[in-house]
């Protein structure tokens, strides 16, 4: 552990705190994921770990490597940007898929699908057409 001793105190304490914060948030999210009842409640819990947890761990990693290499180490921003972009897509796709499956099974837990807008197949009759006799 030679490189950890190279870290000065002002950097070591934030790195330790950010790591613990990130890991705790991930654990809280996962525990909520196990304990919540229905899927639609469960789908919110891992977001905690996905956003704040991985953000804190990435900040800790960036701070650690920036101080250790004495140059800005910003490649962790790749993971951060990627997570921010993909997490809403993932959750929305999964929630949509679950809603579709529940509706197609006729489950009582979800509201029914809204009625589809009327499809106009034929042109409406012209207003000045003669009424049928």
């Amino acid at each position: 552990m030679t490189h950890l001793a190279d870290l000065p105190v002002w950097a070591a304490i934030p790195v330790a705190l950010l790591l613990l914060l990130g890991a705790s948030l991930a654990l809280i999210g996962s525990i909520g994921f196990v304990r919540l009842r229905s899927f639609y409640e469960r789908v919110h819990a891992p977001t905690l770990g996905t956003t704040m947890g991985i953000g804190s761990v990435l900040l800790a990693s960036m701070l650690c490597f920036t101080v250790l290499q004495s140059r800005p180490a910003l490649h962790e921003l790749l993971i951060a940007v990627f997570m921010i972009v993909t997490t809403p897509i993932t959750l929305m796709l999964l929630a949509r898929a679950a809603l579709y499956r529940d509706r197609s099974e006729g489950s009582d837990d979800v509201p029914a699908a809204p009625p589809a807008p009327p499809v106009q197949t034929a042109a409406p009759p012209a207003p000045d057409a003669a009424p049928p006799v």
Partner: protein, 93 residues
């Protein structure tokens, strides 16, 4: 002193992340429906990414960063494909 503090906090963070991964694995194995399993797999990916980053800080090597990036990338693709499969029954139509 700082090395000891860092070492113990990294160790504790790794334990917390492993427990989080165990919770996600429980959902993958015991999920009542398929969407629970897919969401558990997604949570497992995110926790594994964090665990790899913690390993990177512990060893001081940037090699773990690439592994974490690849896990994050493949995790998103896998979850998107599985969600598509749950909704339509096939991935590529």
């Amino acid at each position: 002193m700082t090395a000891t503090l860092l070492l113990w906090s990294i160790f504790l963070a790794q334990i917390l992340l492993v427990i989080a991964m165990a919770c996600a694995t429980y959902r993958v194995l015991r999920g009542p429906r398929a969407q629970d399993r897919v969401l558990g797999l997604d949570t497992l990916y995110v926790n594994a990414t964090m665990l790899l980053l913690t390993f990177g800080i512990r060893t001081g090597s940037t090699l773990y960063f690439e592994a974490a990036l690849i896990i994050a990338l493949l995790g998103f693709v896998a979850t998107a494909a599985l969600a598509k499969f749950l909704m339509r029954g096939e991935v590529i139509e």
